[in-house]
Chain length 303, copies 2
């Protein structure tokens, strides 16, 4: 195992302008681990209730996701409900039933403590710190967070930032975290808080990688239909981290490719609800879209 993810496992109830799906499989750890499973062996740290069906466990096993870190707790699985607006770019959260996730504390099985690649999904910064206290000399730590923690747990978040290599944030979160309204200034401010690599996710407008002085931009893949954006960010992180963990190398070349693999996986994720499209991919599908990204962005630098 090269990689672990810590994050939610949930039932999602999702309404879009065209359809509604009740209690489908979701959560950071699920999107991330299925996306990364195409590149490497991944272990999942999370919690589910007694209502979590065997078919979901089977699906994760089919993707060779290690489930030693998945706690089964008395009670119900985390249930999130949201409704997308007409443009599919924004949504309202209708409800958040944390259920067993409310008392979740990430305890790592011994086998997870020596993994080189660690992804801290969007949970309380105090819990992210608790994970870092359990891992021994990981090579590369990435983190996701959100406005809720930037507002309500900034001191803890700043402690985590000092100990990580990469942060995934969207543009609004980057500005909120840094207090800067310009993306370049926001990024420099965040780098000064700890992570030398900053990935700014811009949804349908792609994503920026800042690595010391290098900048790399990955567009979003244009699609005829977006069916459900839920989990796109976690899927992006899964493709990104899965690729890096698989090639066991973090440098300018691999980081650029990781951005494109992340974008590739995210583009597949939004083509259907839940992990329905993601779970049916072949590695050849992934590589075909990776090459399509290259075709879409390449130009001859000698005019």
């Amino acid at each position: 195992m090269n990689l672990i993810v810590v994050g939610s496992v949930s039932f999602d109830t999702v309404e879009t302008p065209k359809a509604r799906k009740d209690l489908v499989l979701g959560g950071t750890a699920v999107f991330f681990s299925i996306a990364s499973s195409y590149f490497t062996r991944v272990g999942m740290v999370g919690a589910v209730g007694t209502d979590f069906p065997d078919e979901h466990i089977e699906l994760l096993r089919l993707h060779k996701v290690d489930l030693q870190g998945l706690a089964s707790m008395d009670g119900k699985t985390f249930h999130w409900g949201g409704r997308y607006h007409d443009n599919m770019n924004s949504r309202d959260t209708l409800f958040t039933h944390l259920n067993v996730f409310e008392n979740f504390s990430p305890e790592l099985p011994a086998a997870y403590c020596d993994v080189p690649y660690v992804f801290l999904g969007n949970i309380a910064p105090a819990l992210q710190l608790h994970v870092l206290d359990q891992v021994h000399n990981p090579e590369f730590i990435a983190l996701d967070t959100m406005n809720f923690w930037i507002d309500g747990a900034l001191d803890d978040l700043k402690k985590v930032l000092k100990r990580i290599d990469l942060i995934f944030v969207n543009d609004e979160e980057a500005m909120q975290l840094s207090g800067e309204h310009n993306l370049l200034k926001a990024t420099r401010a965040i780098q000064s808080m700890g992570p030398k690599i900053v990935v700014i996710k811009k949804g349908e407008h792609g994503a920026f990688l800042f690595h010391e002085d290098a900048r790399f931009y990955a567009p979003a893949f244009p699609l005829e239909e977006v069916h459900d954006p839920t989990g796109a960010g976690d899927t992006f992180a899964g493709g990104f981290m899965g690729f890096l963990a698989g090639c066991k190398r973090v440098d300018d070349t691999s980081l650029r490719q990781a951005m494109i693999y992340g974008s590739t996986m995210a583009s597949y994720a939004v083509e259907d609800f839940s992990v329905h499209r993601l779970q049916k991919l072949q590695r050849s599908d992934i590589d075909a879209r990776f090459r399509a990204f290259h075709e879409m962005t390449r130009f001859d630098p000698v005019a």
Copy 2:
């Protein structure tokens, strides 16, 4: 002369959250011709009033812009006023004094009628048609338009579209013109109206080129400060068409490079008001930023 532009010459009064400039040089033909002057010899078709100062004429001459097509008419020069919102991505038009531009009819000097590259700036489609009736077998015709003409002159616009090779539109205009809400579907619908090449401008989110089945995406260059977005679209078109006219070749390779040269010129334009930054460039500045775009988007397609 390889290229002509037909469009407005104006005084712009621009307010941004940080500054205000009164009666600075602007207009489609100005931004376009100064941007394209770095790549080729360009002729300008437009009209100014008796109040148009010699210093602006001198500036255009310094850039070797051919002014045979610039009519000097009794009355005042077109004057536009606008105010940008806090994010600099949207603006309100405060006033539009068409002045001499109200009665402008583009009459081409004989020397312009055989140019191979033609850019029809955003004017009434009937006037764009009038230009096309004067040129003899141009190799490549590009057009810009806006919601005002899509709403109010759609029949004429459809006639022009049948006779052109490329259309520049922003994403909202593309959707309005096609009636499609998805960018790919909108593009195909527009291609079926005539132009085989569609460039969708997305402002700070870059631009898409669709050329038959090929797609190319150029990001916007990230800047620490955007001082004035006025003219960015016309400047993009100027860099794009100037480069194509200069290399005298329209194919997949040159179109991709034209997208990047267009983005390069637009990124410089917004760094100051009016053409203040644009007019002071060296070709080496342009090529340096062109290479920076390559550095920002390149990745190894063999993972």
